[in-house]
Amino acid sequence: MATQQTQVLGRALLTPAVALLFIWMIVPLAMTIYFSTLHYSLLDSEAWSFVGLENFRYFLTDPAFLTALRNTLVLVGSVLAITILLGTPLALLLDQQVVGRSIIRLMVIAPFFVMPTVSALVWKNLLMHPVSGLFAWVATLVGTTPIDWFNDVPLFSVILIVAWQWLPFATLILLTALQSQDEEQKEAAEMDGASALSTFIYLTLPHLARPITVVILIETIFLLTVFAEIFVTTGGGPGLATTNIAFLIYTQALVQYDVGNASAGGLVAVVIANIVAFFLVRIVGRNLEA
């Protein structure tokens, strides 16, 4: 339908963004690929040598690698599930006529404003600490033993903190979408005697399909690289219970200062991310074509 002219113009308008992103990606990527073939420690920068694919072999045979991969996927999946399953009812609720809506809305968005390091410190020490945390106090009030969060369910604790941070994002996107929904259509359905549930299933949910896709894709990008929350709370432990790929690369890059291995790890992470993206697109990508 688009004319020749729009096509040309379209391409012209797209070019700056594509070009910038291309440079942004290709220069560091090329350097990373180059570094990944070197035995190169930042702390021993004079003594570098070419080692071919040795860094990849080393990273992939790390006993921690598979656990970290599993933890990464569990973390991404769980946070996505929690934020969407809680975000949808929350968005629906905020779309209703409620007293003090703008204040509630602000309270719900607020967690998104807090830096990850800070929220992790606050959650760990002021809320989840089994001796002096708020949750422990609530537990003793109810008469149960406080949960020893980071000892007994470390990964779940991290998931909880991350989900709390990303719930506002999901809610906000879904809410924005809900508010652009055709009110008259909904009213008509209600007048026809459709129940709230069937209105939701047949009208609202299809309308939310695309925003949910957006939430999944964008959150996945950020969740694949969750790091601060893990570093602050558990340091990747106990054992490897909370070590994800990003944390593993961090220990290579900024604890070990092994640039070669960190670069190899970074490239592995890019491949993993692209595999994840590939499947995501297969599963939810239909919503992108409109």
Binding site: L9, G10, R11, A12, L13, A17, V18, L21, W24, V27, P28, M31, T32, F35, L42, L90, L93, Q96, V98, V99, G100, S102, L106, M107, A110, F113, V114, T117, V118, L121, V122, L126, S132, L134, A136, W137, P168, F169, I173, T176, S180, E183, E190, V214, L217, I221, L224, T225, I249, Y250, V259, S263, G265, A269, V270, A273, N274, A277, L288, E289
Partner: protein, 276 residues
């Protein structure tokens, strides 16, 4: 305009929404309360909710120790600058993908997103070396650049999905009326996309505001935004939760205020810009 809703339903929704909202807000509320406690009271058991010795000592300490204003202005300039530039580049790109798609559009979109998947820490060294050679370390321009490029894929993606929601008929009608593409963009598309533009703007501003890897690693003092300010209060040897809470409350205050105003803007934009 508004749907007729029974009073009972309003009250039920209100109660539920407040409960939800309160639970989600609780950690932040707790943090703000902690910022007014002494370090010792911050972790006292049983916890003290309101009946503690309120003190502004922590804020005084923070005020004395660091130049909050300097960091806040840097945050504002860096987050604002990177978001604005990203929008300027992204709007035409997203327009072109939404309304003049080619066979490759979807691939380009996915490729753009995948640039975002490179773990920052894995490319720190290359970027650090580039920045060193171009004299961009500890420069606001350098941070604006990296955050802008970092968020660009997401901005484009979000705008694309919003633009897609706009019915093509309207554009075609405008074109029939002889509108040029420039006019179409300014007079037809933009007003209709305001809710989308506003939330994209807000979200990316927040993402840039909270970005704590590049801002920490590529700035020292002149360009240091609030993330650096926070890092100077987190986890020293000694009790720090009350002081960190105070610093953190100060760091999120501007953005909460911004959120408050943007939210109203959003609501207005939605009422007028609703696509029929």
């Amino acid at each position: 305009m508004a749907r007729k809703v029974t009073a009972r339903r309003v009250w039920v929704s209100t109660a539920a929404a407040w409960l939800f909202g309160f639970l989600i807000f609780l950690p932040i509320l707790w943090m703000v309360l902690t910022s007014f406690k002494t370090e010792l009271e911050a972790f006292s058991m049983p916890p003290k909710f309101l009946l503690f010795h309120w003190t502004t000592e922590n804020y005084a300490t923070v005020q004395e120790r660091s130049d909050y204003f300097h960091h806040a202005v840097n945050s504002l300039l860096i987050a604002g600058g990177s978001t604005l530039i990203a929008m300027i580049i992204a709007i035409p790109a997203a327009w072109s993908m939404a309304f003049a798609p080619t066979r490759r559009t979807k691939d380009i979109l996915l490729w753009m997103l995948s640039t975002k998947m490179m773990p920052s820490v894995g490319v720190l060294l290359p970027i650090y070396l580039i920045y060193r050679d171009f004299g961009l370390l500890d420069r606001r321009a350098g941070l604006v650049m990296i955050l802008c490029l970092g968020n660009l894929p997401i901005v484009i993606w979000m705008l694309f999905t919003y633009f897609k929601e706009i019915p093509k008929d309207i554009l075609e009608a405008a074109r029939m009326d002889g509108a040029t593409i420039g006019r179409e963009l300014v007079y037809v598309l933009t007003p209709m996309a305001i809710p989308g533009l506003a939330s994209t703007l807000l979200l990316n501003f927040i993402l840039a505001w909270n970005e704590a890897f590049w801002t920490l690693n590529l700035s020292t003092s002149d360009a240091a935004p609030l993330t650096v300010f926070i890092a100077s209060y987190s986890s020293p040897e000694g009790l720090f939760w009350a002081k960190l809470s105070a610093a953190s409350t100060l760091a999120i205050a501007p953005i909460i205020i911004l959120g408050w105003f943007t939210q109203r803007q959003l609501v207005r934009g939605l009422t007028f810009g609703a696509v029929k």
